[in-house]
Assembly symmetry: C3
Homo-oligomer: 429 residues x 3
Amino acid sequence: MIDQILKDLFPLNRSLSGEDNRKTLAYLQNLIPLRVLEFPSGTSAFDWTIPPEWNCRGGWIRNSHGEKLIDFEESNLHIMSYSVPVHKTMSLEELKPHLHYLENLPEAIPYRTTYYKRNWGVCVTYNQFQEKFSAGDYEVFIDSELNERGSLVAGEILVPGKSKKEILISTYFCHPSLANDNLSGVVLTALLGRELMQRQNYYTYRILFLPETIGPIAYGSRNPEILKKAACALVVTTVGGPGKLGYKQCFDPKHRLNSLVEMALSKHEPDFITYPFDVHGSDERQYSSPGFRIPSVSITKDKYYEYPYYHTSLDNLDFVRPEALEKSYRAYLDLMDILEKDLVYQRVEPHGEVMLSKHGLYPDTGGALIPGRSSDEELDTLLNFLFEIDGNTSLVKIAEKLNIPVNDLSKLAATLNEAGILKEAEEEG
Amino acid sequence: MIDQILKDLFPLNRSLSGEDNRKTLAYLQNLIPLRVLEFPSGTSAFDWTIPPEWNCRGGWIRNSHGEKLIDFEESNLHIMSYSVPVHKTMSLEELKPHLHYLENLPEAIPYRTTYYKRNWGVCVTYNQFQEKFSAGDYEVFIDSELNERGSLVAGEILVPGKSKKEILISTYFCHPSLANDNLSGVVLTALLGRELMQRQNYYTYRILFLPETIGPIAYGSRNPEILKKAACALVVTTVGGPGKLGYKQCFDPKHRLNSLVEMALSKHEPDFITYPFDVHGSDERQYSSPGFRIPSVSITKDKYYEYPYYHTSLDNLDFVRPEALEKSYRAYLDLMDILEKDLVYQRVEPHGEVMLSKHGLYPDTGGALIPGRSSDEELDTLLNFLFEIDGNTSLVKIAEKLNIPVNDLSKLAATLNEAGILKEAEEEG
Amino acid sequence: MIDQILKDLFPLNRSLSGEDNRKTLAYLQNLIPLRVLEFPSGTSAFDWTIPPEWNCRGGWIRNSHGEKLIDFEESNLHIMSYSVPVHKTMSLEELKPHLHYLENLPEAIPYRTTYYKRNWGVCVTYNQFQEKFSAGDYEVFIDSELNERGSLVAGEILVPGKSKKEILISTYFCHPSLANDNLSGVVLTALLGRELMQRQNYYTYRILFLPETIGPIAYGSRNPEILKKAACALVVTTVGGPGKLGYKQCFDPKHRLNSLVEMALSKHEPDFITYPFDVHGSDERQYSSPGFRIPSVSITKDKYYEYPYYHTSLDNLDFVRPEALEKSYRAYLDLMDILEKDLVYQRVEPHGEVMLSKHGLYPDTGGALIPGRSSDEELDTLLNFLFEIDGNTSLVKIAEKLNIPVNDLSKLAATLNEAGILKEAEEEG
């Protein structure tokens, strides 16, 4: 299924806005019941203004013999995103500032944009540039449109949980035919959302498909209170490459969220890569900004910036394989598990010890409460756990202190919860 | 005197409840005017229920020849505490699950209880078991009673101090003829209480004689506000063995109380033993529970669990000597001194320096304010002390910072208090 | 100019009080419009009482031949400060307890005082003592006066800044002809005040010329609320010696003020001396006292206690050179700069990123925003700075974190302030 989704969505000419963004959301709605949001062009969003809606129907360069040298039909990367319409014959010299290529990757078309500056551009491989362009006149045609009365679209879905505390899962879908950055993130987010919808969750999950940068800014400016209350944000990006799993840390290097991610990753990639927080990056830049300061992380597999094909036509479906994406998906699922298990409990009767025998909890034979432990070890864990539960300390923290797997402790908590000994700590506010 | 008290109280068949518990309290009332508390059987106490009152008038095993093999008259440890009444003839096979002995201590009768499970048992030495029991029939008689309309008794005394802040001194008296665990603790607590009653104390001391575990639970459930305001708890247990002094730490390993205990111990036993906090143990388990979290420590001399005769008939008055108990008593007295001296002072006039000459405090010749110091050293200490006194920092903390014995600083504080320069910091609330 | 001021003020016979103190303030009023404060003798001030006003018109010792051996006219140090009037002929034996000299500095007249004990004294060089005094009679004359209806004088000026937060600059002017301790501090403070008056400052500066110890106590007792709100205190003392720059730390060794001073000093004296806080010292003793606890530091150049000529007639204008004083002055000016720049900013729009291109702030060529940086480095710094500005973190702290000179960051902040992106964080209260 991953394979098919990738193939279906890869060819679309996504950008900050436009018809193919709408088509992408419509396609995703088959997987997950997204609500489509519209942010009208020209309206303001914090320090920004929503740009016009861009659409491109085609574009090419012909030489003086009328031969098409470059054609949007062959790759949507050929036309710089947000190019203004052009139809003009010009000399190579006049054309050159608008031609983009990469000498060090001669077979790759670079990916370029000009979102906030009226301009146009044509992106070609270095080989094309060398072989097809020489002194002479060229006819350039870009059949694009910048509609000041259009809008940016985004997708949102709320998966309600037991608690009103929200975890934000945010991905960006503004890149055209680039597989790792970020079709991979879009697909993983959709699958993750679908899975979460089938579960009973503790947290409420808010899943957002946005154009990068302007998307979270537009969304945040319309919904500042929603973002302010988010417990954390997972920014899903570049999760399908052949390289190692890694993660970008939260702006606070000591934040517990980092430990939880590491716990999830270590199962799948013992020597995962750690990328310290950096103000450069993806949408965590907005979520982490002074007005929000939402702890944000990204699990990645060939993180943006870090692989040579980044932002080129070689970031394609040869580079991104379903198995790789599946691996990242599993890591994210484990992170969900850990987040869901990291609850805070309190004892129903916090004074004195629990009378274990009354509750039938005095371990007779080992393994009943905690797999693989003797009854002595079980008693020891049980007493320690009951001692640590103070209504303030999360399960993962207690698990670390007692050196016991979170899963085991989570099951023990469930048993004690059923026995009426524990309950979830009341939420503030 | 210690010797006599030990001898008088040792033979009584204490348990969670019963006549000998009442007798023990009555005896202690000769030493210290305890108030007797009653907790009726069947009433609830936090997660627990007060058990029936148990009394045992006798018990024995006879062989088929009518010979008494085992007799409660010889040691009250022979009958498992809280044994239900039995009178029955049975085969060795039927008897065996009820016989308890220790192969590794063949001359010791083990101490066993069955407080919360209706059962009975006879505890014998391994030698007795080997020599006296073979295939055949045995007549077992236990003349006990479990009275659902009885009660648990406890002893309490409040020694009021200048401050309403309370220090809890808690000991357990639920063990029959076991000398170190915990007749030693009972005797030491009584002596400590008697001594405190003769002093002018800063703190108010609440002294409790309780059956272990259920005692603090019962007391706490009736008096939760009292426990919640306790500054700390001293759980007096196993203080009379021949081994080294040691102490069990507070649940917070960095708590100041630990330092104060170490200060007291180091005088008496330079290489005292430190037992880190553990959820297993004595009544600090209840005082430290999430609902109370009272910082609790125990000074010990052959701590429970740690000596081979623990919970056997060899924990007797050969093992516990008055001199040993006296040593623990001295250590506890020093701890009292330190606790009492660890006061918080403030300056009557906290602004600017004190004009020493006006108060006749400018050191002319050394040794007047602080023994063994030159006048320069005295001036230096005086100025530093007056600088540190900020109404928040306790005397022991300042003594540590200035590297001066607490006693010397305490005397200096008294001098400055008389001179009208210092006063005790006002208490909160 | 420094040279002239030093020469003009050096000869005056300053003390805790008296005409020459008034003259000194009058002279300083030519440099800086000080307000003169009077604290009447006999009135109380915290734990102290304001002493009588002292004046000394002359004094000498004559031998039995009528020869003047010692004369106040030659050095005002010859007469112990606060000496009561004397006119009496006495034997050497009777005189000796009143004679003060230094065997280890045979050419120096020591500086002695008897502020709070009625006494008199004559200070001489050891050479004088050896050569001029032998068995025989001596006529001693001290033409002094202790006026119980006099007063202590002090100078004060408030230099208002944008903020009402106050920085205290305090110096003492109670020493007679001693150049480093503390004519140097008096002169530096006057110059500093004059300079601050010509600037637009963020902080309000309160500049005080006081007699040491009793001065801050008297001032504080009349103005406790003023002292309580002071952000910090700079105690200006011993800033004109030939030795290395150094500073005495705040009572809290981790206080940021220490870092700011070190930042200022390291420019002028890479291996400056650090003197940890000590309860002995100058007027920081009063400002740091429990009732005030004002973070206080002193930049010094040959700190009191630390140079051999301390409190002797050799602490004169050969020892203190204008160039040395100038160096300390520059260090203090840099400290002012750093204090003034250590502001807290917040973003006008704290949510999401700033749209740099809209504000014309997207670095095209390097060096425009931050000297000596490439456009990439500028962008990086700009983004990081905008990320760190959270309305709580001061500029110096951010500069340290981003490893960029405070001056550069301060200029960048000014640029962003003009662009309407930043504003100063609102003050509390």
